[in-house]
C-alpha cells in the first residue's frame, strides 16, 4: 500500500502490460472527444466509455474509480454553479440558459476527468515517463521527473509516520499545536528528502553511475487489435456525437 489509490490500481490493473502508447491513444482520444464534442450526447458517451472500459476489461476496482472521480467533483460543481449565476442590476439571479450551461460544463468536466482517470488507473507513471522522452523532452528533465516519482512514496511514508507520532503525543490537539506540528512535519520531510537525495547520489557515484539512472525499459508491445478497436470506437463515438 503506497497511500495513492490510483497508483495502486494502475499497477494492479489488467491493462498494466498493454503498451503505454496504445493506452495513451485511447485515453487521449477520449479526452479530446470530451473537450470538443457537444456535451449532449458526446460527454455522456465519453464518460460511459471511460467508465465501462475501466471497470470492465481493465478491471479497476469500482471503489477506487468512484472515489477518484468524486475528488474533482467539488470544484466542478462549485465552478459550474458560479458560472451560471448572473450578476445583474437586481442582484444575483440565474442566467437565462443556466441549466443547459451548467449541465454542459459538468458534462464536459466529468467526462474529461473520467477519460484521464482511465489512463491514470491503468498506466503507472514509470511507464508514461519514457513516453515524454519520445516527445523530445530533454533527458535531464525526464530523469528529474522519474526521481520525483520514485521518491514520492518514501516521503509520503515518512510524512504519515511522523504525523502519527505527533498525533500520539497530542501534537495536533488544538489549532496552535497543530500548526506548530505541521511546520515541524514539513521541515522534517524536507530535510529527509535532501538527506535521501544526498545518500542516493553518493551511492550511485560509488557505483560509477554519474551520468544518470540508466534502467532497462520494460518492453510492452503494442497490440494491433487494441489500436484498431480504439480507432474504430473513437470514430463511432465522434460520428454519433456530431450527428446526434
Amino acid at each position: 500500500m503506497t497511500g495513492l489509490a490510483i497508483d495502486d490500481a494502475a499497477w494492479a490493473s489488467a491493462w498494466r502490460l498493454r503498451s503505454p502508447a496504445d493506452k495513451l491513444l485511447l485515453s487521449g482520444g477520449l479526452v479530446l472527444a470530451a473537450l470538443v464534442l457537444p456535451a449532449w450526447p458526446g460527454s455522456l458517451l465519453v464518460g460511459l466509455a471511460a467508465v465501462v472500459l475501466a471497470l470492465g476489461p481493465a478491471r479497476v476496482p469500482a471503489r477506487t474509480f468512484g472515489r477518484a472521480v468524486r475528488l474533482p467533483l467539488a470544484f466542478i460543481l462549485i465552478g459550474a454553479v458560479t458560472a451560471v449565476v448572473q450578476v445583474g442590476d437586481g442582484g444575483l439571479g440565474w442566467a437565462p440558459d443556466a441549466v443547459t450551461r451548467a449541465g454542459g460544463l459538468v458534462g464536459h468536466a466529468v467526462a474529461g476527468s473520467a477519460a484521464v482517470l482511465l489512463l491514470a488507473t491503468t498506466t503507472p507513471m514509470s511507464d508514461l515517463l519514457p513516453a515524454l522522452h519520445r516527445m523530445r523532452v530533454p533527458d535531464a528533465v525526464v530523469e528529474v521527473a522519474s526521481v520525483t516519482y520514485r521518491m514520492l512514496f518514501v516521503l509520503l511514508t515518512s510524512l504519515s509516520t511522523i504525523r502519527e507520532a505527533q498525533a500520539a503525543r497530542m501534537g495536533h490537539a488544538g489549532i496552535r499545536n497543530s500548526y506548530r506540528s505541521s511546520g515541524m512535519l514539513a521541515a522534517a520531510v524536507l530535510t529527509r528528502s535532501w538527506d535521501r537525495a544526498r545518500r542516493l547520489s553518493d551511492g550511485l557515484a560509488g557505483r560509477g553511475m554519474e551520468t544518470g539512472l540508466r534502467v532497462l525499459p520494460e518492453v510492452l508491445p503494442s497490440s494491433p487489435r487494441f489500436v484498431a478497436s480504439t480507432v474504430v470506437g473513437l470514430a463511432a463515438l465522434v460520428t454519433v456525437g456530431v450527428l446526434a
Binding site: 470544484f75 466542478i76 474529461g112 476527468s113 484521464v116 526521481v147 520525483t148 522534517a188 547520489s201 557515484a205
Partner: protein, 238 residues
C-alpha cells in the same frame, strides 16, 4: 486551486498552454544546464519535486473549520528559484493530475501558468522586496508564501472568468463571482500557508543551516565547515 479536466473550452486550454510554455521551457533549460554542471543535482531536484508533491498531503487546520492543503509554490520559489519551480511545478501538476485526479491534462497549461509561473514569480518578487527593504528571513517567507497563494488564486479566478463570462455583466461580473466564491477557502489558506512557512523556516534555520546557505537563502557565516544534515537532526518527530 486546480482547474479540473474539461472545465476550459479548447481555445482557452490551448492558449494557456502556449502562454505557460516559454516559462516551462526556460525552466527546463535551467535544469538541463544545472544537471550538466553538477550531475548530482538530478537527485536534489527530484527530491524538491517530490517534496512539493508531498507538501500538498499536509492538512492545514483552518480557522473556518475546513482544512486545506498548502500548495508550496511560494516555498519552492524561495528555496529553488522561480525558473526551476516553473518546471518542477509543472511536473508536480502532471503527477497530481495522474496520481490524485487533481487538475487535468488539457487544463495543465492553465494550471501551470497560475501555479508554476505566476505564483512562484509573485512570491519570489515579494520575498526579494521584503529582504531588500531590510525585512528578515521570516517576514520574507511569510510574504512570499501568502502572496504566491493569493496570486495563484486570483489568476485561476480570472482564467475561469475569462472562459465563462457572466451572461449579463461579462468578464468583470464573472471575475467578481469567481474571486468571491473561492476567497472563502483561498484567503485563509494563504494566511495559513504563510504561517506554516514561518514555522517551517524556524526549524530549518536551526536544523538545516548548511543546506539553506548552499541554496543561497541564508548568507554563509564564517566558521567551521558546515556539516551535512544527519538523519537525527531532521526536525524531530514530535
Amino acid at each position: 486551486m486546480h482547474i479540473a479536466e474539461g472545465f476550459l473550452p479548447p481555445a482557452h486550454a490551448i492558449g494557456w498552454t502556449i502562454a505557460a510554455a516559454p516559462f516551462v521551457v526556460h525552466g527546463a533549460r535551467a535544469v538541463v544546464t544545472e544537471v550538466r554542471e553538477n550531475p548530482e543535482s538530478t537527485l536534489l531536484l527530484g527530491a524538491a519535486g517530490a517534496f512539493t508533491f508531498v507538501l500538498s498531503a499536509i492538512k492545514l487546520p483552518s480557522i473556518t473549520g475546513s482544512s486545506s492543503h498548502p500548495t508550496g509554490t511560494g516555498l519552492g520559489a524561495v528555496l529553488f528559484r522561480p525558473p526551476a519551480m516553473a518546471l518542477l511545478g509543472t511536473v508536480v501538476l502532471l503527477f497530481q493530475a495522474l496520481l490524485l485526479a487533481h487538475g487535468g491534462l488539457t487544463t495543465l497549461g492553465a494550471n501551470a501558468f497560475s501555479m508554476a509561473v505566476v505564483g512562484p514569480w509573485a512570491g519570489y518578487a515579494v520575498y526579494r522586496l521584503v529582504r531588500r527593504s531590510g525585512g528578515g528571513l521570516l517576514p520574507g517567507v511569510f510574504a512570499a508564501m501568502a502572496v504566491a497563494d493569493l496570486a495563484t488564486y486570483v489568476t485561476t479566478a480570472l482564467q475561469l472568468a475569462w472562459a465563462h463570462p457572466d451572461a449579463a455583466s461579462g468578464f468583470a461580473g464573472a471575475a467578481a463571482k469567481f474571486l468571491s466564491v473561492f476567497a472563502f477557502t483561498q484567503v485563509p489558506l494563504a494566511i495559513g500557508e504563510g504561517l506554516l512557512g514561518v514555522l517551517l523556516f524556524r526549524v530549518l534555520v536551526v536544523n538545516a543551516r548548511p543546506e539553506l546557505e548552499r541554496l543561497g537563502v541564508l548568507r554563509r557565516t564564517p566558521g567551521p565547515d558546515p556539516a551535512p544534515v544527519a538523519e537525527s537532526t531532521a526536525g524531530g518527530e514530535r
